[in-house]
Subunit: 225 residues, 4 copies
DNA sequence: CATGAATGAGAGTTCATTCAT
DNA sequence: TATGAATGAACTCTCATTCAT
């Protein structure tokens, strides 16, 4: 599988030559940092670790970031950006509330298998400064509110059985968030499998009556995989 | 609520007098440590922090623990002990697979609102030594296997609709585990509310046909609370 | 060999009963401390180590000694006392200078196989306070002067070939002192073997002419061993 | 004496400028450490002590060594290297066993007056890790075996009177090793004086018959000094 | 007396960050 | 621009010594 091989490719190649897009280098730092943060946590990852994996020296990192924490914050931002993308797409699409929830789970679960996405939910918020923390928290609240609104929409349009939207959202979000804790790229389950299965399983509990109708709730895409 | 007020009471009273039950003191250290670990993470909690909150000095901690990591491990052990208790009780009880899953969720969710329980799923395993890590991992695997077996039992006895037990277990466990990330004692939801609601919500997706029958799946106890 | 068995016997028996000669207990502390100091050095021996081997608690040690250093100093004093004893005996005895040197080596070498004697030369003087250091240094100088005077006596009475007494004394004293570095009670060489062999070997180089006459220089006692 | 004055010159000059041969700096650390270890012992020498004497800060030392113990081990290695050098030279040279022993004593005694050489025999092996200890012990055994083989060679070629090579080696090695305990650069005896005198004195006891032949056993070099 | 408890002082080590080249 | 060098602050852990029972 060439794509996965490409993904495994170390990011230090971006620093191979002197003349290279600085933006590319910044991203390479970010990707490497995200990897390490997920492997060893932010606190146990030293700037030396990051530099070493990139085949550069520690002070060189300061050309791209002012503080260690800034690297962390950028990881969060990249991750939340990924979520944002799919969320707005879904919100704008047509369909019942239940279908939107299914789409949400599907695409959110996918993000939880990508390094930057995992960072958002797996890394310790306590490592962020007060201000950065507020930024991230605001973002997370937004996601939660979005999911809750989909559920309420479903209740209104009759696709979802009456329930407490808050509890339902916590439950669904929790299940999906937790993926970032156990997912391994090298593991037996592919991201698509996980995403589509979660989408089906988690909407089953919400659906009104006829469970048969749920099959359609899962997006068409992944079923092909 | 006097009970909760009592629980909030700082643990340093155990160290008020020099001659006092050492076991009580050890527990006071553990409780305080668990609090701090949840507030600030293990890595950012210094022994001075723990000592300060207990109104003692740092080296005094070494009367009760040999290393900082030992404190962490004991928190894990206490927490897993709590889970173990309820698990064996449920496993031995009568009932359909679905009922057992509901009972599992109910009691596990409750544990996730208790500090030591939260520690098990919220703290970073990377702070444990290889050996301690193995111990904790073994324990977690056990929990997961238990849940999966309840689900399989339910599929066999017809109380649960056919599904992939692995995915279902991941999904349920994830939802419940995540509680430890957002639950706050001072928050609007009580532990019992959360536990009973999660038990109901999460089993709804599993149940075969008539969702009405699920009401009985949630334990009677908490409804009285 | 009952005597050696007795010597191996741990010293904590002195603390077995409450009512026991305090002097005996003090000595037990000293013997145990000497053992440990030789095994692990003064610096790496904690009071807890000593207390543990004596089956008592650390503060109990403070009933017999005011400071850790006092224990060390007492070890030195006991050791130098042993040397002093034999030295005065030899000085008072009749015989040529060479015979006195031989007797000195023999008895000094013996002391170097006894724990307290080894302490004198093996332990680090830097651990002593200025005052205690002066005391010990004074003592060591005394020993050296004594040996040098024996040599000079020998040169005068013709039993020793003319040489620089200072260098000769350094050389002989060094050879004997070094015993405390490699001697092991459980080793292949007994204390008497070492002592008598060293007495013979080291005087050989001093003796005037006929080396055969040296046989008599070594004390008769040990030759039987 | 300008050479000695130069040697006394503090090593911190190596750290005067930031860009300077790192090897020189490493050596400066080593030399300063050796000085301090001999003055106050390894255990009582803190990294701050070393850093202070070099006019740098403690963490700067970690640019050159990973652990405090590594500094110690490098001192040992430097010292054993010095001994090794002279040993191989002697072993390869022509001459009777007695002459080789004399040469050994002469050059070994010289090493015992050099800081790194003194470290080898004066510092406490107990401060080394198990592995490093093995390395050093192996080395010391090698020295001892070398000396013993010279003695046996001498017995075979008739230059040395029959004796127990083990005891003789212990005695000679002890006398020379002990030099590192009392030698002081500022003292009345120069290194060469000590070395040549010891070579003569210590071989006197070994030589067969005619003591006159011994004069030639001492290397010619030092007699000129 | 004897002891469990507690502490102050200090050590080695790590690391984000800055400086100087 | 990029880097080797250096540092200050912080943390874990140890231990001789003293207190209180």
């Amino acid at each position: 599988m060439p794509k996965s091989a490409l993904a495994q490719q170390p990011h230090w190649k971006a620093f191979a030559s002197r003349r290279r897009d600085p933006t590319t280098k910044r991203e390479a730092v970010l990707k490497t940092a995200a990897e390490l943060f997920l492997e060893k946590s932010y606190g146990r990852t030293s700037l030396d670790d990051i530099a070493e994996r990139l085949n550069i020296t520690k002070p060189a990192l300061y050309h791209y970031f002012h503080k260690k924490e800034e690297i962390l914050l950028e990881c969060y931002r990249w991750g939340t950006g990924l979520i944002e993308e799919s969320l707005t797409e879904i919100a704008g699409s047509a369909g019942t509330g239940l279908e939107k929830v299914a789409a949400f789970v599907y695409s959110y679960a996918n993000v939880m298998t990508v390094n930057f996405g995992r960072c958002v939910m797996r890394l310790d918020e306590g490592d962020l400064s007060t201000q950065a923390l507020e930024e991230v928290r605001t973002y997370k609240r937004k996601i939660d509110r979005r999911l809750r609104s989909f559920i309420q929409e479903g209740i209104r349009d009759g696709s979802i059985a009456p329930c407490d939207p808050k509890i339902a959202a916590f439950s669904i979000a929790g299940a999906v968030n937790w993926i970032c804790m156990w997912y391994e790229p090298a593991g037996p389950l592919t991201a698509e499998e996980i995403a589509s299965q979660f989408a089906r399983t988690l909407t089953q509990g919400l659906a009104r009556r006829k469970p048969d109708s749920l099959r359609r709730a899962a997006p068409a895409g992944p079923s092909a995989d």
